[in-house]
Every structure is written in structure tokens, then in C-alpha cells.
């Protein structure tokens, strides 16, 4: 898994393209499924997301996904779960101060972000995750939020008319 994760960083540009293209599709699909099945599919979807992102990014299912602004490197693999890293303890060889055999997640993230089109996204301040979302599906949450945002914007445009 660790090797795959590093592969993701090295090919962050390709991952970014696939991720950005597939995310809206996945979200749209989920909205459709939600309409038909309600929340009955939430458990298998969460399982699927955990498996897919787990294999690709060593995803920890924090439920607050920020992969696209962290060079396709999951920051929850940082032993201090830093979302705006790195900390001051990165070793001279770029490895983690806590786990000397692992490359610092944030050194990876910076190099991954350099390969990405939206490389400046790493400069956005990412507030600490909402721990209520831990273990839940970021996909489902986003699809619900998107649906709500859509509803809001359509109702507000109706109101304007």
C-alpha cells in the first residue's frame, strides 16, 4: 500500500486528471442512487470508497477528503495528522521524524503538488478535520452537500423570479 501511495504522488498529475474527472461522475451517480434507494446503499458505498481510496492513497477515511489540495497524498498518514505540513522535524533525507523509514507525507505532498495543474491548491489553509465525519464516506457527504447547494441555488433563483 505504501508503494502504491508513493506511486500516486509521483503520478499526481495523472491522478489529478482522473480524480477530477471521475469525482463529479461519482457524485452524480451517488445522487441518482440516493434518489432511487435512499440511504440503503450508504454502507456498501462507504465500503467501496474505503477500499478504492485505501488502495490508491492509503486513505484513512477521515471523511474530510482534501486529496486534491495535498498533491494526491493523504495527510492523515502523517503521524501528527497535520493538514498544513510539514512539521519542523523532517529529516535531512526528507523522511518523517516519527517514522524514520517513511518519507514525510508533506515532502511527498509538495513534490506531488508540483506535478499537478492546480499546484497552488496546496497553499490553501485546510482547517483540522471534523472528527464527526471519521469513518464516513466523503463521497456521500459531498453528493448530499452538492444536492443541497443545488436546491438552495434553484430555490433562491426561483425566489428572485
Amino acid at each position: 500500500m505504501y508503494r502504491l501511495r508513493r506511486f500516486a504522488t509521483r503520478h499526481a498529475r495523472a491522478y489529478e486528471v482522473v480524480y477530477n474527472a471521475s469525482s463529479p461522475l461519482i457524485l452524480r451517480l451517488l445522487r441518482g442512487l440516493n434518489k432511487v434507494f435512499g440511504t440503503r446503499l450508504d454502507t456498501p458505498i462507504t465500503w467501496l470508497e474505503a477500499k478504492a481510496k485505501g488502495a490508491l492513497f492509503d486513505c484513512q477515511m477521515c471523511g474530510n477528503c482534501v486529496l486534491s489540495s495535498t498533491g494526491m497524498t493523504c495527510p492523515m498518514n502523517c503521524p501528527k495528522t497535520i493538514r498544513n505540513g510539514p512539521c519542523g522535524g523532517v529529516r535531512a533525507n526528507g523522511n518523517c521524524e516519527v517514522k524514520p523509514d517513511m518519507k514525510c507525507v508533506w515532502v511527498e505532498a509538495w513534490s506531488g503538488s508540483q506535478r499537478m495543474k492546480h499546484s497552488q491548491e496546496i497553499e490553501l489553509v485546510q482547517f483540522a478535520p471534523n472528527h464527526q465525519h471519521k469513518g464516513s464516506s466523503a463521497w456521500i457527504r459531498l453528493s448530499k452537500e452538492n444536492a443541497q447547494a443545488k436546491l438552495k441555488s434553484s430555490s433562491s433563483s426561483e425566489a428572485q423570479q
Binding site: P79, K80, T81, I82, R83, N84, G85, P86, C87, G88, G89, V90, R91, A92, G94, E97, V98, V107, W110, I122, E123, V125, Q126, F127, A128, H131
Partner: protein
């Protein structure tokens, strides 16, 4: 030299941040911010909080810096070792008129505890807060402890800014009185690549850091390069950078530090210089004095943060020798 700073009003209430300086545009009422904004080259140092319930030990350690330090950092379980809490040390110091910098590490407290500490510290007169991620528990004397890391240093800065500027908790609940604190953070200029360092500095400034204390600087060319970029990006207009300098007791200590404390970068030349000296301790102090002088010459550096663990008694002498205060005497309660 600087009449404005030397003539502090007399003190009526020893519990207030002494002396209170309400200046428009200042985040806090503290002297440290005042010294920086007045354009002086500032000197800070740090106290290792005692393993003791004795307040006198805190004062003894602080007195060593009288006259040479504009602010004193109180470390928060540094190296993940257990000591007296930084809030308590800062409260004790504020009580008699020192200007402490409260270090808050994200390792031991979640956002509920941290926000409570910020309010409590501000109520006790603490004017400066330094946001840190903190060393991992595995580095310290209680490796079996549960690491918290609910926030990280940048989220912590955002939190402090929210409380101070919007007068509310993260939850949105209103504060009756917002904590007036000057917020800062740290940066390690020696994590390669330099480019990413400057961008992280930028991120911390965006999140609310208005002063930055750096990790030990022994490698001046790297420091110069980073500062040049920071100046070019206009970052030194937005935050005061204090370069971290330190004393090395011997070549052996230097080697140990370099290989055992992650993030500390000591060039071979420095170690060779220590090794070649007859009196390694004196040479270490001489190096520290030179580093301070060199930092003062670098564009964009507003002060130095002297880290002299177990050599605190030499700080005053080194600062005086370096002349970085330009003859100014940093205010201390003993001046009253």
C-alpha cells in the same frame, strides 16, 4: 536611546500585563509586539519549565534574562517531556511584569482545551501566543501517552485569529471579551526544498501568524536564501521573523543534536570549528554571538530567538557581547 520604551508607566496592579500599552493597530497590549512594531531588533529566549511546583524556580530562570530579552517563551512540554504547564509559567511571569510567549502545542490538547487555555491565559495577562504542532509523544518521557493532534499549528493560528478578531469560539458561540493576543508560529528554514519553506511561511502568515521564530540557524547561506525569497514575496512586511540561534556546548553535543533531534541542521564547518577549539564551550558561545550579529545584517530579520538549553546563564552575556540590542536595555520587572 528609545525614550518611549524606557519610560513605562508605574505599576498599580501587579496582575495586569505590565505595563499595559494600548496602542491603536496593535493586536495586544504587550511589550513584545510594541518593541517589534517600533522597529527595534528584538531578542527573545526560552525557559524550560521546572519539574517542580515551586514558583520561585520559574522566577529564578526568568531573572537570568533581565535586561536582554524582550519576551520569554514558555515551552509546552518540549520534546514531549512532562514539565510545569506553559500556561502556569506564563501566568506566573505575567503576574510580576514579564512579557511571556505562551507556547501551545497541539500534541496534548484538543480544540476545546486549547480555546479555554487561550482565554484563561489572556485573562491572566498573557499577550503573546506561539502555535506549534509539537513533538510526537514517542520522542519524550511518556511514549505510552495518547497523542492528540486534534489541530495542527495552522489550524491553531486560525482558531486564535477567530477568537481574537471575531470574538467567538470555533463553534460560533460569542465571547464577552476577546483575547487580545499577538499570535506567532515557527518555521524550519532547513527542510528542503527552500521553495516549499517560503510557501509554508506564507501559509502560516495567511492563517494569522504575525511573528515567526525559526528553528536553530547554523547555516547562514540557506537562511539568507530563504529570507531573500521571503522579502521578495513581501512576507516580511506581514510578519516579524526572529531567527533561532543557539549555543553548542561541544562538538559532541552538536553531533548528538544533529543526529537525534530531527529538523536540526548543523553544517560540518561548525562542528569542525568546535572540535578545533581549546575551549569548546567558549567557542560555542562565540559562534552564537557571531550568528546573532550575522542575522541582524540579513534583510527582513527583526530579531533573534536565543535557545540556550542548560546554558541560560550565558544568554545575557552573549546578547550584550553581540551588540544586537544597540545599547537598548530590554525592560524587566527588576527595573521598577
Amino acid at each position: 536611546m528609545n525614550a518611549e520604551l524606557d519610560q513605562y508607566p508605574p505599576v498599580d496592579n501587579p496582575g495586569s500585563p505590565l505595563p499595559e500599552l494600548e496602542v491603536e493597530g496593535h493586536r495586544s497590549e504587550g511589550r513584545f509586539e510594541h518593541v517589534l512594531r517600533a522597529g527595534h531588533f528584538a531578542v527573545t529566549s526560552e525557559i524550560a519549565p521546572p519539574d517542580s511546583a515551586d514558583a520561585e524556580q520559574v522566577y529564578e530562570r526568568a531573572r537570568l534574562f533581565d535586561g536582554v530579552c524582550d519576551a520569554i517563551n514558555a515551552t509546552d512540554g518540549s520534546g514531549a517531556n512532562c514539565h510545569m504547564s506553559s500556561v502556569a509559567v506564563c501566568a506566573l511571569l505575567s503576574h510580576v511584569g514579564y512579557s511571556p510567549i505562551l507556547q501551545i502545542s497541539c500534541r496534548d490538547k484538543n480544540r476545546i482545551a486549547i480555546q479555554g487555555d487561550v482565554l484563561g491565559a489572556a485573562a491572566m495577562g498573557v499577550c503573546n501566543v506561539l502555535a506549534l504542532s509539537g513533538d510526537d509523544v514517542s520522542a519524550g518521557d511518556h511514549p505510552e501517552a495518547k497523542p492528540v493532534f486534534d489541530l495542527d499549528s495552522v489550524s491553531l493560528l486560525t482558531t486564535i485569529k477567530t477568537m481574537r478578531d471575531e470574538s467567538r469560539f470555533l463553534s460560533g458561540r460569542k465571547l464577552d471579551k476577546a483575547p487580545r493576543v499577538f499570535a506567532g508560529s515557527t518555521i524550519n528554514p532547513f527542510v528542503p526544498p527552500v521553495e516549499s519553506r517560503v510557501r509554508q511561511l506564507h501559509k502560516k502568515i495567511n492563517a494569522g501568524a504575525e511573528f515567526i521564530q525559526t528553528q536553530y540557524c547554523f547555516d547562514m547561506p540557506v537562511m539568507r536564501e530563504m529570507m531573500q525569497r521571503a522579502v521578495d514575496m513581501g512576507l516580511t512586511e506581514k510578519a516579524y521573523i526572529l531567527a533561532g540561534v543557539g549555543t553548542l556546548a561541544s562538538a559532541k553535543t552538536a553531533r548528538w543534536l544533529r543526529s537525534n533531534v530531527p529538523g536540526v541542521h548543523i553544517p560540518d564547518e561548525i562542528i569542525a570549528r568546535l572540535e578545533g577549539a581549546k575551549n569548546q564551550k567558549a567557542e560555542g558561545q562565540k559562534i552564537c554571538v557571531e550568528l546573532m550579529q550575522q542575522c541582524k545584517e540579513i534583510e527582513g530579520i527583526s530579531g533573534v530567538h536565543v535557545m540556550a538549553y542548560r546554558q541560560e546563564q550565558f544568554v545575557a552575556q552573549m546578547v550584550e557581547e553581540s551588540g544586537v540590542l544597540d545599547g537598548r536595555r530590554a525592560w524587566a520587572p527588576s527595573d521598577l
